[in-house]
């Protein structure tokens, strides 16, 4: 990473994404839905394609050459991801289907077994349904209660409220690292410290963080941390649950089956080593190869530069939208604690109508509640439009988004 100070070479990067050249009705796609899923660069597609063409076999215990190659590739992908997020080796990196499954793994394996009546699970009002719904339901089954750290008027967590809520009854603090709706980058190290002061665990949902900024789980101190491959230039079908080794060791498996056992009799079974204990059945092998390639690809650009590029675009989009006068923007003002997405509404135009009209200009954004319904209730809107950026987006694309808003205004004026 010798060019840390240089701006991202967007043109060269875009060459690796043929999909960004696609046209609909003669207009080139403007892809601004990256918080939902990012596009996949050629090196990642090639790595997966090469795997299927050259090395495909089932993993674990195959004696033949192909199985050895596939097993090696699958296992090494864990090492690479561990290195990327600062974990202590593959034992701390469990591959799942996505962030949601990582969350459920923790909630079922740890939560269902450990939570008791009187225990508190502390969430934030800006949680994604992936963690909000999961903890809510696990709490109902265990008799634990769920508390929410307030979001203040600027779209930041009210840390005074967090200090009030997190106490000796708190069993776990579960917080989103970067809000997928407000764009807020939360002080997750501080939240983790608060949790630890009260002997509680911390789980951080990093789905919108790991793809877009440097993340070191040890620096944060989190006990558990989750993210998805498909939001970080990798494939769908693979996610990660990081967990501290001693915690994962103490946890019961979430799914049972082959590949995760040590010894099986008709009466009982014992579990294999980490992380395989949590990865029964045939795992997402090609996807692991793809995720490995995506991590290589991201690090070659440099996570600081990716973050800077996205924050710059978000700032530009925020300023352009704000200057329109009839646009309401949610979340903090641009700055160090705001990531690369902007959610907004245009006065008098429903977010879904707006998004349909933007689609006529081949501008792809998302409208809805972004899996944060309670937060939208708090904001007092049923839905919002969201533009989210990645390393291949440009200012010109933001301009196209802003220009297309005029069409919506004219129709609905």
């Amino acid at each position: 990473m010798s060019h840390q100070n240089l701006a991202v070479d967007v043109e060269a990067i875009r060459d690796e994404f043929p999909i960004l050249e696609r046209e609909f009705d003669g207009q080139q796609v403007v892809y601004l839905d990256n918080a939902a899923t990012t596009q996949t660069p050629d090196p990642v597609v090639d790595a997966m394609s090469d795997y299927y063409r050259e090395s495909n076999a089932n993993v674990h215990r195959g004696i033949h050459h192909l199985s050895q190659e596939a097993s090696e590739a699958y296992e090494v992908a864990h090492d690479r991801v561990a290195e990327f997020i600062g974990a202590d080796g593959r034992e701390e990196v469990v591959f799942t289907k996505n962030t949601t499954e990582s969350e459920n793994l923790l909630a079922y394996s740890w939560g269902l077994n450990e939570l008791e009546p009187g225990d508190e699970v502390v969430l934030t009002e800006m949680e994604h349904h992936a963690s909000l719904v999961t903890w809510q339901q696990i709490a109902k089954r265990t008799g634990a209660s769920v508390e929410y750290v307030r979001v203040d008027e600027d779209g930041r967590l009210d840390m005074d409220h967090a200090r009030e809520l997190i106490g000796d009854d708190t069993a776990i603090v579960s917080a989103v690292h970067v809000s997928n709706t407000l764009g807020t980058i939360n002080p997750v190290a501080e939240l983790t410290e608060l949790a630890h002061e009260h002997d509680a665990l911390s789980f951080i949902d990093g789905a919108q963080a790991v793809p877009n900024q440097p993340v070191d789980v040890k620096e944060i101190g989190a006990d558990f941390y989750a993210f998805s491959g498909h939001k970080m230039a990798g494939p769908t079908g693979i996610g990660v649950l990081y967990g501290k080794r001693e915690l994962l060791e103490a946890m019961e498996p979430y799914l049972y089956g082959g590949g995760m056992i040590r010894k099986v009799t008709f009466e009982d079974s014992t579990w294999g080593e980490l992380p395989w204990k949590f990865e029964p059945g045939t795992p997402p092998i090609a996807e692991a190869v793809g995720l490995h390639a995506a991590v290589d690809w991201l690090e070659e650009i440099g996570m600081e530069r990716i973050r800077d590029h996205e924050q710059e675009l978000a700032r530009y989009a925020y300023e352009q939208l704000e200057s329109e006068g009839d646009v309401e923007i949610y979340g903090p003002e641009p700055g160090a604690d705001r990531g690369g997405l902007v959610s907004f509404n245009v006065e008098g135009v429903h977010a879904h109508d707006l998004t349909s009209i933007l689609n006529d200009h081949t501008v792809a954004i998302r409208a809805g509640d972004h899996c944060t319904q309670p937060l939208h209730d708090k904001l007092g809107v049923a839905a919002s439009a969201r533009a989210s950026f990645y390393v291949y987006n440009t200012r010109e694309e933001v301009d196209k988004l802003v220009a297309a808003l005029d069409d919506a205004r004219q129709l609905f004026a």
Partner: protein
């Protein structure tokens, strides 16, 4: 231009901006509410039947939502006047799309049919054929 702009032809926009039969009835024969969670659309349909308990005398709607859902409710409220409850129950999504007179992109069909579903469920509940507090396009 693609499907989207076709969706917002003059008639749709007119009904969205100037909804017909908007409001709540004082003495409806039946009332029902429903939502489309995807868009956050909410609609209440009030239906007044004539003395034969079969002919629809008047329909009013209220609620919030996207242009497609609100225009659809507005048009349906007029369309149903003078029709029978059986006519209402026989309607399907194609009838609604024909009524709207525009191409509805696949992701927006739920917005279009919300009012129809709410009115139909309301009628079935009134007849004692259905027990439901709220209609959802996700059901």
């Amino acid at each position: 231009m693609g499907l989207g702009s076709d969706m917002y032809r003059q008639q749709i926009l007119d009904h969205y901006k100037n909804p017909r039969n908007y409001g709540e009835l004082e003495d409806p024969t039946f009332t029902h509410v429903g939502e489309n969670p995807m868009c956050g659309d909410e609609i209440r349909m009030d239906v007044k039947l004539e003395d034969d308990d079969e002919t629809i005398e008047y329909v009013a709607f209220s609620g919030d939502g996207c242009a497609i859902s609100q225009a659809s409710a507005s048009m349906l409220s007029g369309e149903l006047q003078g029709k029978s409850v059986d006519d209402l129950l026989e309607m399907d999504r194609d009838d609604v799309i024909d009524m709207l007179g525009v191409d509805i992109s696949p992701m927006r069909v739920k917005c279009a049919v919300l009012a129809e579903k709410v009115a139909q469920d309301g009628a079935e509940i009134y007849r004692g054929e259905l027990d439901k507090e709220k209609t959802s396009t996700e059901d």
